[in-house]
Amino acid sequence: MVDEIEPAWTVESIPDVDRVFMRAHEMHFRDGKLQPGVFRQHGDGMSVDWEKYSTPPETKGRAKKPSENAVVGFIVGVVRAIPSLEVQHKPERSNRAHSNVMGLPSHDPDLVEIRLKLLRISTVVMELEIPR
């Protein structure tokens, strides 16, 4: 298996001007607009892919059911401008682009605020195949 023979990828620093991509399931769209429920912690943080090593179609292709997903993008520096948030490269053997948005609070008003702010700075870079 490729994953077993490749060395681990070096962790790099992600510049503020770069973008990261995230899948958005079709259930998080209403009338063609992204909804705030899409933003959630998954393991160490909110999983995203760094554009240096991933395109939106590649990010979409890593979903269990790609056809049910859109892809949204963020400018890293704009994410970092939200208090407490940081974007860190965390490559996986099978996905060199993998990164995390760190610093999401646990359930409380701070998390609700951050989700609404993430919604405002996100851009849909790859639409759903079947609009909802």
Partner: protein
Amino acid sequence: MSVLESEIAGQAPEATAAATLLKIAYDRASFRDLDAEIESSKERILGLADNWDGEGSPRYSRATLDRATAFVRAHASWVSDTFGKDAPVPHINPGPEGSIDIHWKQPTWELLINVPADANQKAAFYGDDYGSGTIKGSWEGDRYNSLLRTWLMR
């Protein structure tokens, strides 16, 4: 005065009871959009199975959705009874980890309420006017919240 209210005003006394029933039916119609959103949320959200997004998200419980819709209904009734107007209808959506989001996006303000899956946890909210005016906090989701009421009447 609406057409229906004008018609009611012109009724003979013996028709008052029937007219009142009509008026109640008319008032009830003002909740049609809200009822449609609640019914839609049941169909969209309660049909989701565990891992519905392929990312490990859990299913949603009827009890969580009921807590969310009870708040929205109670608020809409309060606005109608107090001000005689319709409250804006929110989107009721799947939130993270089995929670339910109630989301209003208006031209001059936006508000997000999150009702957690755990009934012992407080509901949390954040809203702003796209500027310096903000509202933020948490409360027992099954009780009235006067701060939220006031915000929703902006």
